[in-house]
Symmetry: D2
Subunit: 466 residues, 4 copies
């Protein structure tokens, strides 16, 4: 066990991603899928008389008994991993051993197994997305009405609500969710179509039997539980890998943005939100504010890794010359599992963060009190105009007050703007102090953000039910 | 005019892409879209009594009269391109000038205009794809039955048909076509929701009128001809740009692969296919074979440019901090138009190539005669076995003949394999010479490739009709 | 003029980059370089008797008289831009027209001209970097001693100095500067080596003269002012383009980081630094703090564009099959000029920002007073320990005070920590109040940051002198 | 052992890369480097009296005794891998345990260790490059004079030599070799400069001793065997990672191009070169030509993976906000080891291919006889002109012959051009048949390719000696 630490270990083998996802991309599980495909192949050959139901039953009984030690011993001799697996499987099935892989070529097994792995991995991701979206919608609802500063150019702008901001991430993730579902539904196998996708060998095999080629192919794929592409070469079109990577990169982008926003809001000068931290994580005695957003940072870090693989998948698809070149093989061994494992980790971490998201309402209110008031000045100006004041003169008065207030804030003081305005005789000529104070109440200046946030939460829950 | 050649000119301004696409991404057209949005905005404000129908009519009458000279003169003074355009438009509309842009912020106009440009550009691409797919399907049909060598690892493998190979590209492009349509249908504007997406300013504007905010927003977007995202910030979510770029990169990948295959097949040692060339293009007297696949090479070259922009779009979406940062602005000025113009050019070039594709059936037949025969040896072996011969002995005999034949080929001779086999007494014991010759007929060893090719052509035409 | 705005115009034609850089990448300048190479070629042929000195003189007299109107008219006929230019040039040189391009192939002219353009563009960038580095070093010196908060994880950490932070950017840019210089010095032309780089045609041409091939080649390149690669194909190795793009991407990365840091520091909750803004840019009356870092945002935006082209250059180099394929041609028309123009713009903008950088020392001091004090608590603890206090007890006392102080800060108050400590009897047993106050002076807790900052400034100025 | 195959295993843990490289990137070796740095730190503290020589000796005696089982047990408790290692180390050193890590922060240890790993990995790659370049140069020499077709646009063009083509790869790899050496020489550690790079804590530690901060820092780095950056933050500048990745991507590009060329030349229609294959690999009996270039394909596949990580490194460097954000951490765990391991594998595979490169001179000669002859037609035309024939008439005669010859070739026949010309009375009027045949000898039409190839071989060997 220790031995393995004397050489490189991928963090995706022990650090990132779920156990389920790591299992899907294991050598053992890949071979179990191969075996299921051999069973499906055999079963479909029963009507042609090549195989008996008893043989299929025997194969099925041993379908999960992968024995890597034996397989590697044989592979060391014959240098062919799939044929080695055939031999191990055959040795476990005395009566059916001889008919395993009948008529097939390696890629009929391997590439269909890969399509199954893609689909199962996508299903795991979709399931994780469901939890994430449910968790997130709940928070959207909770904070739909909580006003907070909106920032454009990382500068305080107008006012929004916490829930409406969260609804942005929700909307983005809902698009990703749709894409994942579509790609999942579209996953197709290579089919059982032989070395260059023409099914010539199967047709030859069927000749003289009453089995029709297309019926046989449908039957075996049905039994394998996956549809085949209408046309294929030695492999399924590598555009499929690219679409999968693209769907994953979409999720990575949405979570990256969420995590980056959080990293900034968690910075004490903002201090509006934070990822959860345990009681023990109270931080150093010296620096009580030091709460590093290490989980959000991890999301960003893995996000970069995921998107980098989209280009690899594009290159593979675009450079697969004629009926297939093997320049995809080596990189697919990391591209596919690592992209899935990285997104798996990102979603899990994001879900934990959002579930226990720390929303510091006091600090939010403080920032609003500092920056939010200014955006209410506009309303006062409009009311003064309606009340008969000269707009240009009033504009200048308000500008002066704003500059004085900003100068106070810059020195760390509270925003004195409301009191200033409510005590200025030039304004009191037109509006009573109470009205001025009321107009300066920024907290109601959030438009339909609360409503839209709630609608988005509802739309999301509806999408999850479907 | 000459002046412009004394400084950098983008090839997308004069060399690549259609005039229609170049117009969509022009400064003039952008401003025409702005004006249409101002008209839509004004029209929706009629019920609130802010605007009269006569004013809207006046605006509409001048909607296309963009005057860049005047606009630039004003911009030089006020340093704000959108406000400069407002002034020019206002100067053309004496009675309606004052109500242009009422209640709006710049991005309500600009970002909705961008969404419209995306949608129109996608529509052009989709239209071009229709022609491409129709052209390609016709060729799939024509060559569905024409046998040719299939190559895996760029090595002759088994046999396929020309039409079945073309059907691979068709299937890939059909996936792209579906994606383009989906993205096109999903394009949404930012809506009229103000500086941070909360609609606070519009709500304020509506207060005291009988207009309901959501009705007003629906009306203006309806009039603009585009739906809005359910939630937005200062902009629409930049994920939308990324989805558009991804859809374009999908097309780029399919055409890249097609073009790369063609570049290899057009190489004289293969010589099976070529892009069209005119009578005048006969090549140099000295090198009659020199027909450079410059159009296919251009497709590959532009394809790389397109895919490089996917990363830019991903970065923009992922780094748009909080309610919007402006780090997307400068690069969107080239990313969007150049990606569209490049794909536009790629599709046009591919369509021309495919329409007049040169399929050299004689050379295809010659290559089959050299390499294809070997794949028929398998059939002879099977027939010998059925006829009672010892499989292992016969296998050795066939292997020897194959090696002799390959050696002849390597020296440039024709493949002597059929004659060798049909004259070998050891084989004639079991099979008559005629049968051997018949079994060696590789041209029928194409499985269901012709059928599947035709089905793909039909499926494509059906998809185009929808 | 207006016409051009009715179709797509690249922002690099009018918005970004210097006039000098735009000129280098113009059609006119490219042809002037071609002409210089033809002059160089002719001159080197004088000793062989093919050309007379008078002819060379005639060519040289007309070397800059590019006439695009005439050239395009001819090109419309013969469809070959380089040969069209030969004809225009020839028409301007009655006696020398006939010997232009003697023995050469197109790429001998075009690719050497491209190498010259790369070198000139790099020289412009290097010159701009000199100004940037000089400007930056001056600021490093000025602010070397100014203490400010350092932030890790965007969380206040320990203390650094403004100048030391600026020295980080300086160090990064100095690495880039070295790379640019190295790549500039390494730029090589394709040489005059014919269609596949073997110089076969020139050797044939020289045969029968007393000119030695290698001497002729050296002479022409010397006259062209650039060395040639030792071996070439139809082109120079495309790895050269990639190295150029990589050097540009290095600058882009350093400036991106600087600009991103600035965008955060310019955010009012930080408020420590800002890009310059004019008196007129005072912002809206309502929101006096609204100072958007639009120049820093532009730097980030263009940076993404630059790095996206590195991949394109890598693909071109890696896929240039055998003696050259043309799949680089179309994308090099934008990749090279746009990357140079983008970096040109980025450096110019960064230089302007840094020259007039707004360092808000009052706000810096305020942030230090809030967060910096905590980092001095460590020193008090050490001093208490040396004075005989129980470390564990004192640690708990300090922790309590820190939490109280942090709570005050979170509500927007000033940091009360120093007073708290200097008035706590438990501490005063061991240390006088004055000593406590002195130990809490965080401003001296900056290590050797001032010294290292000044050393970096000096090292930079030394590097600029060389 | 089998257990590990029940979950994902990176191919870089068992399939690709050398054992040496895998060891460098192991958990155990990383901790050994940490320990060496702790020893260096302790040793440098002797003069200050903090540490005794005996303690340092004790630490040194246990420096390699990493005990992962114990370390993981402690980490499970305290959740800090570096501190867990400190405890294990301390438990092995009864007298020195207490002074380990004195004054240091985690990144002082971790980031310097990473710099050491980068440098050692680069050294391995450089060593592998030496072997590759020596092997390649030897082949350049051997085949310097062997004429073969040159291909532009994958179309036969003029003639080159096999050695000259190999010299292209050599020249590219020599550039990469230079870059690797430069980056290797430039690797710098973070130094011992504390949490934000100001050395404040070390300065505090040194105060009261006679040790000067800069001397201490120099001493510890000298002992660690690596220089430090002049300025640092919490880490060394991440630009360093990017430069390393870029150097690796350069090698990846050169080998990708070589491998792609080989994959095309190994295709039977070309058939000029092949990667080695064993006696047992003779291929199937049926398809004796089927020799898949699986090793060259692997090179291309891994090359894509390597270049994809350059973008990740660029993003890390560009987004490391202020004094450091942790968004680099997760992706560096795969980016760095996998890029090194991939390039390691690529070089090893390329070296094996080149060492035993199969150059099929007979096929090369055959292709020359087909395509190369045409390029000699030019010489005949020139000679006819000199002999008084009408150039235009002769040009037409030659063009006709060329077309006839090409038509013969297209049908698979040998090139009849020489005989045609040598028997045409119209030509024999001016030139004797022998002269015509001599002029048509394309094999001498290779310019100075042989000479330049040999010069490149020599230049390479010289570079390796340095």
């Amino acid at each position: 066990m220790n031995d393995s630490f004397e050489q490189f270990q991928s963090p995706f083998s022990w650090r990132y991603g779920s156990a389920e996802m790591r299992r899907i991309w294991s050598e053992v599980y890949k071979r179990q899928l191969w075996r299921r495909l051999w069973v499906a192949l055999a079963e479909a050959q029963i009507p042609a008389g090549f195989v008996t139901p008893a043989q299929v039953a025997e194969l099925r009984a041993h379908v999960d008994e992968v024995d890597m030690t034996q397989a590697h011993a044989i592979e060391a001799e014959i240098h062919h991993d799939l044929m080695a697996e055939v031999r191990v499987f055959a040795s476990q099935c005395p009566t059916a051993g001889g008919i395993i892989h009948l008529g097939a070529t390696s890629m009929d097994i391997e590439d269909n197994a890969d399509a199954l792995r893609l689909r199962e991995s996508l299903a795991l991701i979709i399931e994780a997305m469901r939890k994430l979206l449910a968790t997130l919608s709940a928070q959207v609802e909770i904070y739909a009405d909580t006003p907070c500063m909106a920032y454009t150019h990382i500068q305080p702008a107008e006012i929004t609500t916490v829930g409406y901001r969260l609804a942005q991430y929700t909307q983005d993730l809902l698009v990703d969710f749709g894409e994942l579902q579509r790609v999942h539904a579209d996953i197709r196998g290579k089919g059982f179509t032989g070395a260059v996708g023409t099914s010539a060998s199967y047709r030859e095999l069927m000749s003289g039997t009453h089995l029709i080629l297309s019926h046989f192919q449908q039957r075996v794929m049905q039994s394998a539980g996956i549809e085949a592409f209408a046309v294929s070469t030695q492999t399924y079109p590598r555009k499929q890998d690219w679409r999968v990577l693209t769907a994953l990169a979409g999720v990575a982008s949405s979570l990256y943005k969420f995590a980056l926003d959080l990293r900034i809001l968690q910075s004490p000068p903002f201090g509006e939100m934070a990822e959860p931290f345990g009681a023990k994580q109270v931080g150093s005695s010296a620096m009580p504010f030091k709460r590093n957003p290490i989980n959000a940072e991890k999301i960003c870090s893995l996000g970069r890794l995921v998107v980098s693989q989209v280009q690899v998948a594009w290159e593979n698809a675009s450079h697969s010359i004629l009926e297939r070149t093997l320049d995809d093989s080596a990189n697919r061994r990391t591209m596919l599992p690592e992209a899935f494992l990285a997104v798996d980790e990102m979603i899990a971490v994001a879900t934990r963060i959002i579930k226990n998201l720390r929303v510091d309402e006091a600090t939010i209110a403080r920032n609003l009190a500092i920056y939010g008031r200014f955006s209410a000045v506009e309303r006062v100006l409009m009311a003064l105009g309606k009340a008969g004041a000269n707009r240009q003169e009033m504009h200048e008065v308000l500008r002066e007050h704003s500059l004085v207030a900003w100068s106070a804030i810059s020195q760390g003081a509270a925003n004195p703007l409301v009191d200033q305005l409510a005590e200025d005789e030039r304004l009191l000529q037109y509006l009573p102090a109470d009205t001025i104070r009321q107009l300066m109440d920024y907290s109601t200046y959030v438009g339909d953000a609360p409503l839209r946030a709630k609608q988005m939460a509802k739309q999301t829950l509806d999408a999850l039910v479907e």
